[in-house]
Amino acid sequence: MEITTQYIQDRLLEKFGKEISFLLDPYEMLNFETPKDKNLKVLQFLFDDEILRFRFLIDICAVHYPDQKGRELAVVYHLHNLQDNVRIRYKIFTPIENPDIFSATGLYQSANWMERETYDFFGINFVGHPNLKRIQNVDEMDYFPMRKEYPMEDQTRIDKDDEMFGRGSSVL
């Protein structure tokens, strides 16, 4: 049977009721969000269901919205149904004070490094991850560089003059 956006929406509403909220996506991909403690239940439901069959995890990433208080960090899962060629996007929001999210490594092996990378860049703590440590940056780094408050350039460098590079004069 044809899996349309409306069908997926109906199935999710029927299973999870009021906790789901949908966003209209003008670019033809269904986006939905739930509270963060439901993420494993939703992923498991989408995996097991015989019609929905979202059994391929494309990507996990995170976004930092410093202006939305209480919902600063968003974790975004992209899922794919290979047999019917449908993609969906699933987001969960978490406040920045305790960014604990259940890890999806039990369900998808590919989530392992993707979650480590998200932890490395944004500081999201994946509960239940077998080996949550930094993957891309040096181990001694003590901040999470992709968050919006940190600049792109290395601040400890003294050789390149900020003025010459058009960045204001913060270096002596």
Binding site: Y27, I58, L82, R89, F121, R134, N137
Partner: protein, 410 residues
């Protein structure tokens, strides 16, 4: 004691009790073509487990992309999978065009297909010849590099650069393909099939090569899907998933090509799949070239979409006409309308599904740009693939997976 001298090497747990050797295939190693580290725990010659460390060439692409307008990010995408940078460039342009809702004329689509398939051939040539080098056959690599030079000459004719091409613009190409480019393409199409045939006969039924690669690092289709494999590695494991067929982009649905599939997912299957993909790419290029030649007259001069908000007008017009001047100013200073929204677009890179997740907030630069890099995702499976195999098999597996460090770390 090992912590003091080599802080980036850690002994695996329990290795001293189990009497196993720890071998560091460190970031600089002739076998690792790129910088990533494998700490192998070995019992004699057999690998028991391995731990990977990546990030030795982390260049913070995603952070840099938050500071650059959309048309400047193309140079960043070049350096993701640098063996086939036109595919990354085209993927990025397609993502921007999806966000900005730009419609692309057919001729531009066909030209893009030619460039992307040339890049795919170029990448598979490197991967397959390096598999040959790792099993000891160096001369194949030197022989085949000459034909990559022909591909580089075609790129040079179109965009001026050999490796990190920055080919195309949002909406098309920066200039029309001139006759020299097509002459060089014809020369390539004439000379290359003979070379590919010789390459096959040297390695494909070669007894030594087959014994080295058959059975080395197999993976089943379900495990590969769970690990997030895409591209030739997944097709060698038996799953026929190709983005060009599933969600066709850039008029791929107009072409007739097959997708080669393997059975066991070992190194020999990966080699064969890549080889066959090169033949299919050649056929696609020939079809696309014929289709491009069918455009006559004014249509043959079309090389970009009619999108003045996003595609820079020609310089003669900027200096003489008012409208062109205004558009040029707006594009460069960032005053054009970028819609607010999120878009995920993927293309079939040489390694698999290369995805771009772009969140735009209406400003000149993206709010967030994330690259879904296939190498990073399937390198996790190396531990499971090489359990129980010999060290030399692990080396061949490493090169047949086609791990490009620039894409892995990004």
């Amino acid at each position: 004691m090992s912590d003091l001298i080599f802080p980036n090497i850690k002994l695996p747990e329990g290795s001293i009790e189990k009497n196993t050797t720890t071998l560091n295939m460190g970031p600089t190693h002739p076998a690792t073509h790129g910088v990533f580290q494998n700490i192998l725990e070995m019992d004699g010659e057999r690998v028991i487990s391995s731990e990977q460390t990546v990030g030795y060439i982390h260049r913070a692409f995603e952070k840099i992309a938050e500071r650059r307008p959309l048309y400047q990010i193309t140079t960043l995408t070049d350096r993701l999978n640098y063996c086939s940078s036109p595919i990354n460039n085209m993927g990025w342009h397609l993502t921007c065009e999806k966000l900005l809702r730009v419609k692309i004329p057919k001729r531009v689509d066909y030209l893009r297909v030619i460039i992307m398939e040339l890049a795919r051939i170029s990448d598979h040539l490197i991967c397959n010849s390096i598999v040959g080098v790792d099993t000891g056959a160096l001369s194949v690599f030197l022989y085949v590099m000459q034909y990559r030079e022909l591909i580089y000459e075609i790129y040079e004719e179109i965009c001026g650069s050999r490796l990190t091409t920055n080919i195309g613009r949002i909406g098309g190409f920066e200039r029309n393909f001139n006759n020299t480019a097509f002459t060089k393409l014809e020369k390539f199409l004439k000379e290359y099939p003979g070379v590919l045939k010789e390459f096959e006969t040297l390695l494909q039924r070669n007894r030594i090569f087959m014994e080295r690669t058959i059975g080395a690092g197999p993976i089943s289709g379900e495990r590969a899907l769970n690990y997030g494999f895409t591209g030739p590695n997944l097709r060698a494991a038996g799953v026929d998933y190709d983005v060009r067929v599933h969600s066709p982009y850039s008029s791929y649905e107009d072409f007739d090509f097959k997708i080669p599939i393997g059975k066991t997912g070992d190194c020999y299957d990966r080699f064969l799949v890549r080889n066959q993909e090169m033949w299919q790419s050649l056929s696609i290029i020939e079809q696309a070239y014929k289709k491009v030649q069918e455009f006559k007259g004014a249509e043959a001069e079309v090389y970009h979409a009619d999108a003045p908000e996003y595609y820079l007008p020609p310089k003669q017009d900027v200096y003489t006409k008012m409208e062109a001047l205004i558009w040029h100013f707006k594009i460069v200073m960032g005053e054009t309308e970028i819609p607010v929204g999120e878009v995920y677009n993927c293309v079939e890179g040489a390694n698999g599904e290369l995805g771009f997740y772009l969140i735009s907030d209406g400003g000149r630069t993206p709010y967030r740009l994330h690259f879904r890099r296939p190498c990073f995702i399937y390198y996790q499976a190396f531990n499971e693939i090489t359990q129980g195999c010999m060290l030399s098999d692990a080396v061949v597996v490493l090169s047949s997976l086609n791990l490009i460090a620039g894409e892995m770390d990004g």
